[in-house]
């Protein structure tokens, strides 16, 4: 903007200010403030549809929804709330970074909020899905930019987020390089062709060959 125009605008604003000062209307709310953000309200799809799309029974969906709606009466979770809720489970450390990644993993349509459908779909995969689906989900979580490759930096972010949740008071004491070391181990295991990234196939292959991981995938099956 040119100098003159800017000067003119400033002078106009000043004149307006003096006018308001004289007439005593300086503090009135401007019109823009009136337009509040309309509260986000969301109603999930019907029970039947959800029942069809997920592997939960009707009763389970009811229980899930009641808990969900209790915490988030508006029907959607935004990232802040999500972080808050998740942090309550890990009081010693800082769970916000990991919660951020989790949020992105659940928010499949990337609109900044997790609705009940997203929530329940994610849970359906995690709790009732096949191994393939679960591993797919995990890969999605690690792949921060969703480009199909897990780079070392992405993995390092995830690892740091996980270690952050532990907090300070651990035994043995957490050192600065622990996440790095862990990432190295991971890449050694997963990156078969040593190209510095892990693809989905490498990931799934590797995990299926690992007994530990296979066993742990079944761990949370009876959560609901």
């Amino acid at each position: 903007m040119s100098c003159r125009k800017r000067c003119k605008r400033e002078i106009f604003k000043f004149a307006q200010y003096m006018f308001r000062l004289v007439t005593g209307t300086l503090n009135t709310d401007s019109v823009e403030d009136e337009l509040e953000q309309s509260a986000v309200r969301h109603r999930p799809e019907g029970l039947e549809q959800l029942e069809a799309q997920t592997r939960f029974s009707r009763k389970e969906l009811q229980i899930l929804y009641r808990g969900f709606k209790n915490e988030c009466p508006s029907g959607v979770v935004n990232e802040e709330t999500f972080k808050d809720i998740y942090s309550q489970f890990f009081p010693q450390g800082d769970a916000s970074t990991y919660a951020h990644f989790l949020f992105n993993a659940f928010d499949t349509d990337h609109n900044g909020s997790v609705s009940f459908e997203d929530f329940v779909m994610g849970l359906s995969i995690l709790l009732r899905g096949t191994i393939q689906e679960k591993l797919n989900w995990a890969f999605n979580l690690y792949d921060i930019n969703k480009d199909g490759f897990i780079t070392k930096e992405e993995m390092l972010d995830i690892m740091k987020a996980i270690y952050d949740m532990m907090g300070k008071c651990t035994y043995p004491v957490l050192k600065e390089e622990t996440p790095h070391q862990h990432v190295e181990i991971f890449f050694q295991k997963m990156d078969k062709n040593k190209d510095g990234v892990v693809t989905i196939d490498e990931f799934i292959d590797c995990c299926q060959n690992d007994d530990n991981i296979m066993r742990s995938m079944h761990l949370f099956e009876n959560v609901i």
Partner: protein, 665 residues
């Protein structure tokens, strides 16, 4: 972990799958949820209003009543619900706490009622949400203050064993406790006034003498004023020393403001006494007299308004400080400006900045003496700005001070009102108590009457007098009766008590009733036939009978209610039976005595029987002196009493109103 997010735990556990691929070690085994209960609805019936919720909702807070097994105590098998006999309105907030995890305090609810509900349901008030916490705390504090005020007034009741010192202190602090205190209060107040007036009048010029100009009264009537001053100071000194003696904590008393004022008020006099002959310091002595004006502050003990003012100023210290600070700032600014503005003009009074301070202060407080006036135009402009801003700066903190004063003043008013109301409230409570006592007495009388009438055979009166008494009342009365029997005393109403006490006071030995007293009425049945014991000796009549009976056994002399040196008063119970025929009254005594001997009954068909029941304060005194009326069975001796059933003298006296008093048993 907040129980509210317990619903999200399954999610968090599911999301833990994200850690699996990066983990190097095997995971621990997950806990099994064997008791997989379907979520069920439970019904909470609170005084008829049914609330329903999931069981898991209540299980969120296991350390409360509803969340633990404690609620099983309230389970009603037939209706299969949990019944609580509590306020359903307050229960709403409590149940909402389980549902939302936040406890709210509803404004319409009384704070103590709410606290009680919380305590019942095992919820600590500290978890009230932020939105309602402030309100809750404010109300709680207000309530505590109110109760504290009441308690403080209770302390004013006279304690029986107070030392002289404590009595004095109480008298000083609260002049309404006794007449002496009141006298003292007024005397000191009078002398304070005198002293202050003297100080003032001392300086008034009174009557010029021929040669000299006007002389102040103080110098004219030196002796008179000196005497007045001495008198006042003596009174003040005595008062101070007495207060010092009576104070529970002398050190604290000496540090208190009032005592410092006292000391400052009387000290100049003593200093003056010491230093009268020394010429050099007499000037300083004269200045010391200024401190005599502090005597006026002694009035604050006498005036509550002054105390409130002082208290207000103390509590508004921060506002006053701000006022002072802002004024100082403004004064300095304007003084500087005026000084430089007026520097140019000749013969200006604004010689220096400190000199301009005076002008600034006078202008800002809108006094405007006019001794310093700006002459230049710039000076005048700045002078006007100065006066305008002065108004603002001073006006700002004043409303705060005023509102503080008003709040404290109203608080005091409220305290006074509460005190006045308290008297009325206590009176009401007392009336209620006496009402219930009277009901008890009434029932006793009617019980006696019933029995009497039973004995005498009249039916008509019985119906008239018998009152229907509920089961609860009858049980209560039975209890009181048991107490009476236990203590071997009886309840009596106030009138009788007063009467009896008067009569005891009036009685002194010699007047004797002519009727002999016959004792040993073992077999005599009384008009209240089934009573086994004789309770008391009745003598509330104008012919007090002394006790001619030689009471066998060791009898403490104070038994005899006739004796003037008697200690505790006996209160007597008597049944006054109005006999219909006046003729019988002459013979009543003898007849009754005889009857006492053979144990016949009173023949009293008509008339009213009134019972007055009197209790005897000391157990051994039961036996009787003036029993009149039909003989009573001998009262079994009270267990500790040394007196072994000395048979009372059974005497009958009839009053002029044809009332034969029969002592109740």
């Amino acid at each position: 972990m907040a129980s509210g997010v317990a619903a999200w735990l399954p999610f968090a556990r599911a999301a833990a799958i994200g850690w699996m691929p990066v983990a190097n070690c095997p995971m621990p085994v997950a806990p099994r949820d064997n008791s997989k209960r379907q979520d069920e609805l439970i019904v909470l019936n609170v005084s008829g209003r049914r609330f329903q919720t999931w069981r898991t909702t209540l299980d969120r807070y296991p350390d409360t009543l509803l969340g633990s097994s404690e609620k099983e105590f309230f389970y009603n098998e037939e209706t299969r619900e949990y019944f609580f006999d509590r306020d359903p309105d307050a229960f709403r907030s409590i149940l909402n706490f389980y549902r939302t995890g936040k406890l709210h305090y509803p404004r319409y609810e009384c704070i103590s009622a709410y606290d009680e509900e919380l305590a019942f349901f095992g919820i600590i008030p500290e978890i009230i949400g932020d939105c309602c916490y402030e309100e809750y705390k404010d109300r709680k504090r207000e309530n505590a203050e109110r109760l504290q005020d009441d308690q403080e007034e209770n302390k004013d009741l006279k304690l029986p064993n107070m030392t002289c010192r404590e009595t004095m202190w109480r008298a000083f602090e609260n002049p309404h406790t006794s007449t002496m205190a009141l006298v003292f209060y007024y005397v000191t107040g009078f002398f304070i006034a005198i002293s202050v007036i003297t100080n003032v009048v001392e300086t008034v010029p009174c009557g010029a003498t021929a040669s000299q100009k006007d002389v102040p009264c103080g110098e004219r009537y030196t002796v008179a004023f000196f005497c007045m001053d001495t008198a006042c100071v003596m009174i003040f000194t005595v008062e101070y020393l007495m207060r010092l003696f009576a104070a529970p904590s002398r050190y604290r008393f000496m540090r208190s403001v009032m005592s410092i004022i006292d000391v400052v008020a009387i000290l100049p006099y003593y200093i003056g006494l010491v230093m009268t002959d020394n010429e050099d310091v007499s000037g300083a002595f004269v200045t010391l007299r200024v401190f005599r004006v502090f005597r006026i502050f002694k009035f604050s003990r006498h005036s509550q308004g002054l105390r409130i003012l002082g208290y207000t100023l103390k509590s508004c210290a921060s506002e006053l400080g701000f006022l002072l600070f802002s004024l100082t700032m403004a004064i300095i600014i304007f003084a500087t400006v005026m000084f430089y503005a007026e520097k140019g003009s000749s013969s200006s009074k604004f010689t220096s900045i400190p000199a301009s301070f005076w002008y600034t202060i006078v202008t800002m407080t809108t006094l405007g003496y006019g001794d310093m006036v700006p002459k230049t135009i710039a000076g005048k402009i700045f002078g006007s700005i100065c006066s305008l801003s002065g108004v603002l700066v001073i006006a700002l903190p004043v409303p705060v001070i005023v509102s503080n004063f008003s709040r404290i003043y109203h608080q005091n008013q409220r305290a006074d009102k509460r005190r006045a109301q308290k008297k009325a409230r206590l009176a009401r409570i007392r009336i209620a108590k006496t009402g219930s006592t009277n009901a008890f007495l009434q029932s006793k009388r009617s019980g006696l009457l019933d029995e009497l009438l039973e004995l005498t055979g009249t039916e008509a009166d019985e119906q008239k007098l018998s009152k229907s008494v509920s089961l609860l009342e009858s049980q209560h009365y039975h209890l009181l009766h048991c107490l009476e029997k236990t203590t071997a005393h009886e309840f009596v109403d106030e009138q009788m008590y007063e009467q009896n006490s008067l009569e005891t006071a009036l009685q002194s030995g010699p007047s004797r009733s002519p009727s002999p007293s016959s004792s040993h009425g073992d077999s005599a049945s009384t008009c209240c036939g089934c009573r086994a014991r004789r309770k008391g000796t009745a003598l509330p009549d104008p012919h007090p009978n002394p006790n001619p009976l030689p009471l066998p056994g060791p009898q403490p002399p104070h038994h005899h209610y006739h004796h003037p040196q008697q200690g505790p008063l006996q209160e007597l119970s008597a049944i006054h039976i109005q006999c219909g025929d006046p003729a019988s009254h002459k013979t009543s005594r003898s007849i009754l005595n005889q009857k006492a001997e053979d144990g016949s009954r009173i023949n009293c068909r008509r008339g009213q029987v009134t019972t007055a029941i009197i209790s005897l304060p000391s157990p051994p005194t039961l036996d009787g002196d003036g029993l009149h009326g039909p003989p009573h069975q001998r009262r079994p001796p009270p267990p500790p009493g040394p007196t072994q059933g000395p048979p009372p003298s059974i005497q009958t006296t009839s009053s002029s109103s044809h009332i034969v008093k029969v002592s109740a048993l």
